[in-house]
Symmetry: C2
Subunit: 432 residues, 2 copies
C-alpha cells in the first residue's frame, strides 16, 4: 500500500528537534512492503494540519500522523482533525479512566509520555487529563488500557493512524498495531518485496558504486541503493517480484552476486552493527578484549559496552588522555614517549601491550591520535591516528590519516579499531 | 521570510537514512528569523520532485531543496527541475573544470562529497564527471571553485537553493551562502525574532510546563516551547516584536522571569551542552577531572573528550567493567565488593577514590549500576545506579533508579554524573 507520514510540531519546523520518528516509520513500513510517497513536517497550526491531512488522503492508501496528541496547550491534532474531517471531538470515558489510573512512582528520570509522565511525581491537572480523553468521532483507541495516546480513524475507507510524538510510544504502536493492521488489509496479489542491507566500512561509496555497476539495470525487479551513513556505507538490495517464489529466487541470486563483489568489506547485514558482530565473534570463541585509548576518549570502550551482556567479553579499558597516565597506568616508557611522541606507532604498541598486562584479556586495542582541531603539525596533521592491536603473541600498529572534524576523526578511529579486531578474528587481511 | 525545505532521496522515504539536514536547515533559518512552514521528504522520482517544487513556490518566499545532485544514476534533481520549471539543462564549462581538478590524495576515510570523493583514490568516470556540470538554465553556482555541488535559481522572483544531500557540504553552503543571501533580501520592516533556548536536565517536561504556565498566553508577541530531547528538556523563548527595541525589552523581561523560575535547573543556553559548560568551568578554575566507570562503559570519559582542548582538564579514566579490574586498578577491596556488591554506594565511593589515587586530578566521578536488560534483582532492579563524587577532601555517593532501556540508562547515568559535577563546582544543591 502507498502511504504518507505527517509529523506535527513547531519543535520540528523550527529545527529544535530532529524528526526521528518519521524515519523509523518509513523504515518499518518499507520493510513490510509498503511504499512511502511523501513525508511531511508541519508546525502546530490547526489549518496546516487539516490541509496536509486532506491532501494526503487524496493520494495515499493510508496516512500516519505523529505528534500533537499530548496534554499541553500547543497540542492541536485532535481539534484540527475534528474540523478538517467533520468529526466533532467526543468524550471517551474508558480512556479517561485509564488516564486517571494511578501512575507508578518509580521513575525519576524525567521521561514524559503522552498520557502523563511515567514518574507520576507531578500529575497533570484535571483539565489537562480531560483534554486527553476528547477524540474525533469514530476514533478507535490503538491500545486500550495502555497509558499512551494513539488512535485510528477510517475515513473514506482509508485508515489514518494518529500516533504520539514521543518516540518510544510511537514505535511501539507502529510495530504492534499499525503494521499488523496494514498487513491484514494488503491485497494478497500485491507485489512482494524483499530487502537486505549490506553494511560496509572502509570502502568509499563511489568505489562501491563502481564495482556494483554491472548488477544495476539488469532487471527491472531489482533495485540497488547506496546510502552513506557516516562512517559506513549501507548497500540495499530490494527485490520486487510477482510471487513469493520468484522473489526468493531473484533474491538468492543477487545476494550471492553482491557478497562475491563486496566480500569481506561487508561486516554485517540488516540490523547488525559492528559492535554486535564483534560481540557474537568474541562470545563464540570465548575471547576477551581490553582497550587503551587516548584521542577517542572512551568511545571504543563505550561501543563494546553498548551491547547487552558485553561483560562476558569486554573486560575494561583505560582512557589515558594524559601522558603521565600512559606511563603510570599502561607502562609506556618515558623514552618511547619522548623519542617518538605520544602519537606514534611505538606508543600505540606499548599502550596495547600495557592494556594486556593490566587487564585480563586475549586481545587489546589501542588508539592514539590527533582528533583536532588543534594539536596538528606538519608531520602529524590533525587526523593522524595510530591504532595498536596486541594479542598474547604479537603486537602491531597501523597508521591512518583521517579527514574530518574532531567528531569524525573520533568516530573513524573507533570504527577502524573495531574493524581491525573483526578482521583479525576472522583471519581477513588487516590492510586492504 | 517564509520558506519551505524539500529533501530528496529514496534513502529517506525508505527510512534507510535519518534526514538530519532538513533539521539543521530549519534550526538555522529559524534562528535567522525566518519561518519554515513545511518540510517535505520525497523519493527519487522526477515527477515527485517537480510537483513538490511547484507547490512550494506557490506558498513560500524561498525554497531549499537538498539532495539528488550527485554523480550516480539515481540523482535526478537537475533533470526534474529543468522539466518542472522549463529551464533546460546547460553545460557549465567552469564547473566542469573545477570538477576535473586533481583531487587530494590524503583521505582514506571513505567519505564522499558530491563532486567526487575527497579520497581521490577512485576517481569518477568521465560521464559521471560530466553529469555534474549540466545544470538548469540560469543556475548560479553557490561556491565557484569549491569541490561541491550547489546552486541557486531565481524563479518568479523567488530564490530556490539546491544544496547537496551530503550533510557537511549542505551545512557549509547554508551558513555561508543561503542565510546571508536571505538576510540581504529580507524586508527591513519584517518582524524581528529573537530566540533563546534554555537547557534543562533533571526536571520532567510536565513539571517545567506547570511552573512556566503563568508566563504563557500573557502576550501574543511571546512564544514558549517545550522540547524533550532525551534526556534533557529544552525550553525556548521566542519574541516576535515590531521593532528591534521592543524585542530587546520584551526579551530581557521574559529571560529574567524564566531564569527566576527554572533557576539552577538550567545548565546552559542555546548551543551549550553539559560538557561544554563543564569544560568552561573546569578551565576557568584550572581544575582537573578523572573518571572511573562501569555500566556507562566509557561514555562519561567520552563526553568530556568530545570538547576540543579537553586534555587541559580531563586527565583520563578507567572503564572497570570487570570486578577484578575494580580491585586491581581502582583498589576497591574484595571485602567491599563481596559485602555490598559491585553496584553499591561503598563501591561507587571506592571507585571514585581509586580514580583519584591513580590519576592526577582534583575531582573524580564514578558510575556503577545495572544498565540492563539483564542483571537486575528485586533489591537492585535494572536502572539502579550509584554515582560517586570524590574530591581531595571528601567522597560522596548518590543513588538513582532510572527507567528505560540499556541505552537510556547509560545516557541518564552519564548526564547525571556530569550534572553532579557541575552543581558541585557551582556550589548548588547536589540533590533536589
Amino acid at each position: 500500500m502507498i502511504g504518507e507520514i505527517i509529523a506535527i510540531g513547531d519543535e520540528l519546523t523550527s529545527g529544535r528537534i530532529l524528526n526521528s520518528t518519521s524515519y523509523f516509520a518509513a523504515s518499518q513500513l518499507f520493510g513490510a512492503g509498503h511504499e512511502i510517497i511523501a513525508m511531511s513536517t508541519i508546525g502546530d497550526t490547526a489549518e496546516g494540519i487539516g490541509i496536509s491531512l486532506k491532501r494526503a488522503l487524496d493520494r495515499s492508501d493510508f496516512v500516519i500522523v505523529t505528534g500533537g496528541l499530548g496534554a499541553t496547550s500547543d497540542d492541536l491534532t485532535n481539534e484540527a482533525v475534528a474540523e478538517a474531517l467533520g468529526r466533532p471531538v467526543t468524550f471517551y470515558p474508558e480512556l479517561f479512566e485509564t488516564i486517571c489510573t494511578g501512575f507508578p512512582q518509580d521513575d525519576l528520570s524525567g521521561g514524559t509520555g503522552t498520557l502523563g509522565q511515567p514518574g507520576g511525581l507531578l500529575p497533570l491537572s484535571r483539565p489537562q487529563l480531560e483534554k486527553l480523553a476528547w477524540l474525533p468521532e469514530g476514533a478507535i483507541i490503538l491500545k486500550p488500557g495502555a497509558r499512551m495516546a494513539g488512535y485510528m480513524l477510517v475515513h473514506n475507507e482509508r485508515p489514518i493512524f494518529f500516533l504520539p510524538g514521543v518516540p518510544y510510544e510511537m514505535k511501539e504502536l507502529l510495530v504492534d498495531r499499525v503494521i499488523p493492521f496494514l498487513d491484514a488489509r494488503t491485497d494478497k496479489k500485491a507485489r512482494h518485496v524483499s530487502q537486505k542491507v549490506y553494511k560496509v566500512f572502509g570502502l568509499p561509496e563511489i568505489e562501491i558504486n563502481r564495482v556494483m555497476k554491472r548488477l544495476e539495470g539488469q532487471d527491472a525487479r531489482i533495485r540497488i541503493g547506496y546510502y552513506p551513513v557516516f562512517p559506513e556505507v549501507h548497500v540495499s538490495l530490494s527485490v520486487f517480484g510477482e510471487t513469493r517464489a520468484e522473489n526468493g529466487m531473484l533474491f538468492k541470486q543477487y545476494d550471492l552476486e553482491i557478497m562475491a563483489i563486496l566480500s569481506h568489506h561487508v561486516y554485517g547485514v540488516d540490523d547488525e552493527s559492528l559492535e554486535t558482530v564483534l560481540a557474537a565473534l568474541l562470545r563464540k570463541r570465548k575471547l576477551r578484549v581490553a582497550v587503551a585509548e587516548s584521542c577517542t576518549g572512551g568511545l571504543v570502550s563505550h561501543k563494546f559496552t553498548k551491547v547487552p551482556g558485553s561483560s562476558e567479553y569486554f573486560m575494561g579499558g583505560v582512557v589515558a588522555y594524559n601522558n603521565e597516565l600512559k606511563e603510570r597506568l599502561l607502562g609506556v616508557s618515558v623514552d618511547t614517549l619522548s623519542q617518538f611522541g605520544a602519537v606514534s606507532g611505538p606508543v600505540a604498541q606499548a599502550m596495547a601491550r600495557g592494556a594486556l598486562a593490566l587487564i585480563p584479556a586475549d586481545y587489546a586495542l589501542s588508539v592514539t591520535g590527533i582528533a583536532g582541531p588543534d594539536g596538528g603539525s606538519r608531520e602529524k596533521p590533525v587526523g593522524t591516528v595510530y591504532i595498536g592491536l596486541a594479542t598474547r603473541f604479537e603486537t602491531r600498529d597501523f597508521l591512518y590519516r583521517f579527514s574530518g572534524n574532531r567528531w569524525q576523526v573520533q568516530a573513524l578511529s573507533t570504527f577502524t579499531a573495531l574493524e581491525l579486531l573483526r578482521r583479525k578474528l576472522l583471519g581477513l587481511p588487516l590492510v586492504d
